[in-house]
Amino acid sequence: MLFKKIFIFLLLFPTFAIAQVHQTILENGMKVIVKEDHRSPVVISQVWYRAGSIDEVNGKTGVAHVLEHMMFKGTKTIKPGEFSEIIAAAGGRENAFTGADYTCYFQRIEKSNLPLVIKMEADRMQNLVILEEEFNKEIQVVMEERRWRTDDKPNAQVNELMQSLAFVSHPYGRPVVGWMNDLENMTYEDALEWYNDWYSPSNAVLVVAGDVMPEDVFALAKEYFGPIPAKKIKNRKPQIEAEQAGVRRAEVKAPSQLSYIQMAYKVPALDRDLSKNSSDVYALEVMAGVLSNTSAARLNQSLVNEQSLAIGAGAGYTMITRGGLSLFEFYATPSEGVSTNIVEEAIKKEIKKIAEHGVTQDELNRIKTSVIANEVYEKDSVFYQAMLIGQLETMGYPYTLMDQYIENIKKVTSDQIQEVAKKYFLDDRLTVVSLNPQPLDPNKKPQGRPHVH
């Protein structure tokens, strides 16, 4: 589900005025970016580390996320859980999240408390204490998280398998939460190793947004993060995905009434050299919108409303990633009595329509209008604005990319979309995983798949 969420972010990609964003780089290499928004006396602080599941190795999957949990378990001067107590007592809200490309720690707090937040983040960047006893409890929490997120959710299992089937040699094939067996065998030393490898100011970006002045934030960052020595960050291997030849298919059996299908085509992400593949990438972005940006977009209109083949259908594309690769994904819940094969064919037919006839001017206009309106709407969320800056910077793109987004979307033509539809949506780039629903009571006779061909 990772990709779908990011897709939503991207369609709503704003281009807020660059004039309000300020940045500096500390001597130890840490980047500090400030986005002013003086509407409320509130500030968002986000510390981003360029360390996510794609930096993990086999046998230790999930360690990026486990370390994220351990970051709340105390430092040389702060007891386990005390970080959260201090933030709560200051009226703050906090959390953290781990993705394939990054790990981020954030707080939302009344602005006078920013120094407290910066001081504590700087403390846990350098003074984390990982006690074996605390680790052994927390790893149980993470296993419960995995059971809850993936193991007991049939659609999440389909997604997990689809990722790992689509990416054979690239680490995007591994689940962010980690394989259960790796979690079961993980030790506090694995977490510590991860912390020592990646938690360095030179591998981090601080984003502060809200009712602050840039010079005040820079001064705070210099005072607290400035003295932290930079570690030497390991070389990252390129990890190119092995060439795919032929469609890849699999199924998941799980207790469910309805079936489910996910299809993913390998497509490029925006190259860090922005001039390189930008026209393809923006065309894919608009194509995703034409297929699925509202309930009146092609997939829902065709599969759900007109043909009643599915009770839900959508598509998504992530145009920016740190790993350089991306997927253009489709997902649908077939109506009862309709097989996943029929739905797969219906989705392919929609792609083919675009490849043969392109899209209409009305469709292009609607996408462009909504992108422009969203630019304004997203200014209402300071957190979201900080999030975009942090994502871009940790993935290796300049945050100024935001300012070119609308212009690039506006330039996309029907011909370009037609071209990418022909170029990338081939069986040799396709992975398909379907859910084969099983009865809840295993003693009942399995239903089998409806309408097996």
């Binding site: 409320s40 200051a90 939302r108 419960e144 809850w148 609607r366 309106a373 304004v376 300071v382």
Partner: protein, 429 residues
Amino acid sequence: MFIKYIFLLIVTFSFHANAAIKIDSWFTDKGSKVFFVQNNDLPIVDVEVSFMAGSAYDKDESAGRASLTNHMMLLGSGNLKQEEIINQFSEIGAEISSGFDEDKSSFSLRTLSEKKEEAFKLFQTVLHRPNFDGEVLNREKKRYLSSIKQSDTLPDSIGNKAFMKAIYGEHSYAIPSSGTLDSIETITKNTLIRFYESAYSAKSAVIVIVGDLSKKEAFDFANQTSNDLPSNGQLRSIEKVKLTPSQTIKIEHPSSQAHLHYGYPIMKRGDEDFFPLYVGNYILGGGGFVSRLTEEVREKKGYVYSVYSYFMPMQEKGPFQIGLQTKKEQIDEAFKLVRKVVKDFIDNGPTESELAAAKSNMIGGFPLRLDSNKKIMNYISMMAFYNYPLDYLDTFSDKVNSVTTEQIKDAFQRRVILEEFTTVIVGAS
């Protein structure tokens, strides 16, 4: 993305007392209540119109009627089909969405202020002229039926349905909002038209407007919205909640985790014990990672990813509920620990330092609750719908601040009775 903690964001419990927010309030000529907050910082207008038309207004045999009415409102108006309406909103960059729960059916619009006139007109078309097209209804009924069957395979949905049925018995809060396989079959176009005409009246409507427009513009929009709503509607009420006997229900499921639902109906909107119960619950299980339940069940034992408690005040008594998921083999130990924590809290109340930390969070975190138009909209809309006084936000901090440990202990001992708790465990080992 993997988030370390789950926040249970319940609008009910989010308040802010920022004197800078000035709420204008009036009634339209046809009797709709209006709340208006002018805010010209961004060129955006947000609108929400709510009706007393939630699932609590269904009967067992018509279960799903209120939800389908809400759902169909966005699927065809006048002679416009769903895709035509949605595309017309897209053409001006406006967004429409709907919300639905036991008490309420609501519709929200977000538009650029420069497009507000066109957006208002379209939005009013949706509210005034739903066509409840028969073919569309047949298709949507099938989707509802499939969704009902699907949710009957998911442990959380199974547990929730069983829990609501057990704690509400014959009360309409027990009715599943999406209906049942039998009830959905019986719903026709006429069922929806009748429900719309009676429940979506001007008197039942609450109109909330936030953003970049003048009071005169807000006034005119509210009147136009109100004028063309059905005029023959009658205000309905939800009956009082009668407590059902405490029960323990165990449901088998092949999932790896067992899901616990534990609680019963306790508090309604405007309850006189609201503040001590609300502040007390922050300490017991509402305050994210610093609550007693999280500390004991997650941090000390590693039993769960998430454990929480909340009061959900509704028009009539809403549930107090404690929930968790843990692997089946340890559900008994985890549940035992939950009961111990809750009993200890009821018997002894919070400590002074816990109360001080809770107040500090709620009062110090006040500005966070109001830092966007969207949030202002959500809170003001809740206040308008449930008839909160206009100074509610202004006095909120003082009321939190005046709560004592004794009051919390007293309120929990009177109101949170362990013997009344109902237990539902799905995936029991």
